[in-house]
Symmetry: C2
Subunit: 293 residues, 2 copies
């Protein structure tokens, strides 16, 4: 297994390094109009103020990277994604994660990231094992010098077991390297579905994370909030799952920093990346000061 | 590694099985006068009513087994422990965990457990790797047919690393077998100290749990609440650590059921012991009904 591959992301002025021997990095998930009609309406009329507010709030809460998704009915992503990216890049200093199923929108947003006098190194969300995705997204990432989230699913869908997801992750790394990227340019996402579905889906995801971490050594992201869909006390289920996922190897979850940022600091403390809890205590003091303002 | 050893505990009327392919068992920790001066005073004057109340409350909250500790200044454990055990056994139907550093008190309490018309099979808390403890407690457990919590420390103290604790656990199993017990009669406790101490103590404990689970196959308990001593938001630290500890192999934690019982159900769901979360949802519905009364 390669030792502590470094996935490097950059804003114009700041660098974030994702590696298994470093603190967990939180990719803030809240700039996403799904289920937020007012945000969708603002995006549709080209109003980026709510996006900027969500960006500032998440950074204050502890997001290290911001995911930007503008996909909603009535929104032209090819126009809106680059505008949102430019607005957030102007308002914050964290690296960005360009989140779209539309390759043309990703291309337009990448142009913004690369076009400034201080070029950014964003994350692309996402490529998967489908041929159509591999052949379109990997060259895009390679050409832009961007990192990319790689989802463990392919033309046959999402394999249930850990073995199948490991096989797809292996293929994703191979194809990325063939396209001119390096293994550290990928953040692999094992995909967490609803835990209340049949066949122990959460356990399979945790095993896939552990296997991929052990055998490929890559860095791992995870959108973990779906796990609790339909269950009581979703916050407690999400927190327990995220703690287990970080123990298994996830080191850059896509999550709500309001809940996940403190948990990531706790995981760093418990997993040997924050001796004596210095960073955790500092984080909690800063949060208490913010709450007192 | 042996497959799913079964540690069996019994009250007069009920059996609890601890095994790695079964749901997590919660050993309720709250019958303990440490830091509870009113409970200590009641015990000193022989008043068992507060003990019984704590027992009933913890069972309602989801405790599967109750730890009974009466150690405090002014309390004669040799008298008080058997009285408390008798009172709790009369009021509840869960198996008991006899918790004392005084072997004579343990003996007296075991006499109560074995003396009824329906003999119980309690858990003894605890033996450790010190010669004095091994030679005194293991024969006691073997003679009473009781299970016993085995702490990974010995005459040289608590080893910092996982390797040292594994070595003590191995010795504890060997000595238990030599004394007439079986490996499934032990619940090994890797010991969780304060995470904010130097040298990554939490990580060493998690690694010890994983190693002992993998190499010895025994069932594992853990008193997990010390981990957060001196840290902000102790509840969040405890919950994250307990989730990680259960993922690593702890399947019978000693904990406060008010917090840990729901978390144990969540762990069962996420770790493949509660398909579709049926038991978790049932537990949460029952809790909501209780809260509504």
């Amino acid at each position: 297994m390669p030792e502590n591959l470094q996935t490097i992301l950059r804003s114009a002025t700041r660098q974030v390094i994702i590696a298994h021997d470093r603190p967990v990095v939180i990719i803030g998930e809240r700039i996403n109009p799904t289920g937020k009609p007012r945000l969708a309406a603002a995006l549709a009329r080209g109003d980026m103020e709510p996006v900027v507010k969500l960006a500032l709030k998440q950074v204050a809460e502890g997001a290290d990277v911001l995911d930007i998704n503008v996909g909603a009915a009535g929104v032209d992503e090819v126009t809106a994604l680059p505008r949102a990216v430019a607005a957030v890049a102007a308002a914050t200093d964290v690296p960005l994660c360009l989140d779209s199923a539309n390759p043309t929108a990703l291309e337009a947003a990448l142009t913004v990231c690369l076009g400034s006098t201080l070029p950014q190194r964003p994350l692309i969300n996402s490529v998967n094992g489908e041929e159509r995705s591999l052949s379109r997204i990997l060259p895009l990432a390679a050409q832009a010098g961007a990192a990319v989230i790689a989802l463990c699913m392919d033309d046959a869908g999402l394999p249930q077991g850990a073995e199948g997801r490991l096989a797809i992750a292996r293929k994703l790394v191979e194809r990325a390297v063939a396209a001119g990227l390096e293994p550290q340019d990928l953040l692999v996402d094992c995909l967490a579905l609803t835990a209340s579905a049949p066949d122990y889906v959460a356990l399979h995801t945790l095993e896939a994370i552990r296997r991929i971490r052990e055998e490929l050594g890559v860095n791992l992201t995870l959108g973990a909030s779906n796990i609790s869909f339909g269950l009581p006390d979703r916050g407690a289920v999400n927190a327990a799952f995220l703690a287990m996922a970080m123990q298994a190897g996830v080191n850059a979850p896509i999550a709500d920093p309001a809940h996940a940022a403190a948990l990531a600091k706790i995981a760093d403390l418990l997993l040997g990346r924050d001796e004596m809890g210095i960073a955790y205590v500092r984080f909690m003091r800063k949060r208490a000061r913010q709450a007192a303002v």
